[in-house]
């Protein structure tokens, strides 16, 4: 039983549920950043804090990207949007949280049925990683604003990252860094895209974008 990893996993679940229930975009960005920082410590914890150079560099890159750069870019976009700071969900906050709880229980059940070749560091990692992926998807489909969909995308990536770190340990750092670069570019592009959508249409409501074709 690895208690530090368990605590990070529970923190991940709590932040996911907070994200499902929060109504302020600024607070949502802060929680995604917190989630990223907590995940940055995960590779170090899973390798029992042995300070190998590439592990430390990897953690620092993760924390600075997910905890500082992404929130900074998203906050800048949020400032451009001026008076549109509410999440505006398709599905209400209370029902979102209930749906999240049901999803969590389902993920627990699902991962208890999956066979793994070797015992994992913490029994919670797989269900929580699944749950993070699912709640990222839920955020993408159940919220109107383009900015929230970027947040959902980041949460989704956090889930994939947790899953990867838990399963394959320290080998694929290069792959992870490649994915991180992709996401960095993606968030960058999405930030610019949101800015342009906003300037063109005075809102970032994707619901109305689907009616553009005539």
């Amino acid at each position: 039983m690895n208690n530090a990893a368990d605590i990070i996993m529970i923190f991940l679940v709590l932040t996911n549920l907070m994200l499902l229930g929060l109504s302020r975009l600024g607070a949502c960005i802060r929680f995604v950043a917190l989630q990223g920082v907590a995940l940055g410590f995960l590779p170090l914890i899973l390798n029992h804090w042995d300070m190998e150079v590439h592990l430390v560099i990897f953690s620092i890159v993760i924390i600075s990207l997910k905890g500082i750069v992404f929130p900074w870019m998203l906050n800048r976009t949020l400032r451009e949007l001026a008076s549109q700071r509410e999440v505006e969900p398709f599905i209400g906050y209370g029902i979102s949280i209930i749906a999240g709880t049901i999803t969590l229980v389902m993920c627990m059940w699902l991962s208890s049925r999956l066979p793994f070749p070797e015992p994992l560091m913490s029994p919670l990692i797989v269900p929580v990683a699944f749950f993070t992926i699912m709640s990222g998807l839920f955020l993408i489909i159940s919220r109107k604003k383009a900015l929230t969909q970027v947040l959902g995308y980041l949460v989704l990536e956090n889930g994939i990252y947790a899953f990867g770190v838990a399963l394959v340990g320290k080998q694929p750092m290069l792959v992870e860094l490649g994915i991180l670069l992709d996401i960095f570019v993606a968030v960058f592009v999405m930030g610019i895209a949101i800015f342009h959508i906003n300037r063109e249409f005075d809102h970032i409501d994707t619901d109305q974008l689907s009616r553009l074709r005539s």
Binding site: V13, I97, G100
Partner: protein, 302 residues
């Protein structure tokens, strides 16, 4: 000696419970920079009310008079089921935690129908709010207790709380913390404390519990105050049972520790009330759903 010890919790409750209200009020007064009312003020209030006569409306029936009496009787019965400190409960059997929870359900039912009995639309509104919110806090309480039962492996309150020891905290600390936070929210909601209901408010449109007791006067209202204090005492013991895991086996050491825990809880409630504003009614369900979620999480984790 043993027979007296068996009834220790109801007796201690009757003696100490109103004091908790005094401690909460004093904490709030200190935060606000006031001197505040005397610590024993709730006792004076109850004594004053018990000496008065009661006035009953002609439209009310026996249900209206039965409500407060039943409330006090039911809370005292629930006290028999609850262990306190090192003292085991007078009545203990497998699954008594469900009886414990639904005794409070019975009390709520009688408070609600005696409020509806007056025929006042305002009391009907209060009753509707009380029932709505309790329907959401009940699953949180039930699942939270189930989570603790799963951690300890016992489904009787006495065995459950006597096996919450420091080693259990090391083994399943996260689950206990989650269940504890959920139970704290339920504690605040059930006792009508601040994030859910303001006990000091007399603005009719915002209050929940207070509005149902508007037509009760004299000894009846005294009973309502007393049973509310006892309810706080009992629900607080669930929290103390988790958060103060002191079981030395010596009754004269464990019981003072538990009483000190209760007083600390009262101070914590006072701090929460001084530092938070009451939530809008629309946001209360969200808080209670959050509490239920935390309970479910605690149950799933372990």
């Amino acid at each position: 000696m043993m027979t007296i010890l068996k009834f220790a919790n109801p007796i201690l409750g009757l003696v100490i419970a109103p004091f908790l209200l005094g401690v909460i009020n004093r904490t709030k007064a200190v935060f606000a920079g006031r001197t505040g009312q005397p610590l024993l003020q709730p006792y004076y209030d109850i004594w004053k009310l018990l000496r008065k006569g009661a006035v009953y409306s002609r439209t009310t029936s026996w249900i209206f008079r039965a409500g407060p009496v039943l409330g006090l009787a039911v809370t005292l019965t629930a006290a028999l089921l609850m262990p306190f400190g090192g003292i085991p409960a007078a009545i203990a059997f497998k699954g008594d935690l469900i009886l414990f929870i639904y005794l409070f359900g019975l009390m709520r039912f009688f408070t609600v129908i005696s409020a509806m009995d007056t025929g006042s639309s305002l009391e009907g509104m209060g009753a509707s709010r009380e029932v709505t919110f309790s329907a959401m806090s009940e699953p949180a309480l039930l699942i939270g207790l189930a989570a603790i039962a799963k951690c300890t492996g016992y489904i009787s309150l006495t065995q459950m709380f006597s096996s919450v020891v420091p080693e259990l905290w090391l083994r399943s600390g996260p689950a206990l913390v989650l269940a504890g936070v959920a139970l704290l929210i339920v504690f605040l909601a059930e006792n009508c404390r601040i994030p859910v209901d303001d006990p000091n408010t007399h603005l009719e449109l915002t209050m929940i519990h207070e509005v149902m007791a508007l037509d009760h006067g004299g000894p009846d209202f005294g009973f309502i105050l007393y049973s509310a204090a006892l309810k706080m005492w009992l629900l607080g013991q669930i929290l103390i049972g988790i958060a103060v895991p002191i079981h030395t086996g010596n009754v004269w050491l464990d019981t003072p520790a538990a009483i000190a825990g209760m007083l600390l809880l009262a101070v914590v409630v006072g701090v929460i009330e001084s530092s938070m504003a009451r939530l809008r009614l629309l946001h209360v369900p969200q808080l209670l759903i959050g509490a239920t979620t935390l309970s479910v999480l605690a149950l799933v984790l372990r």
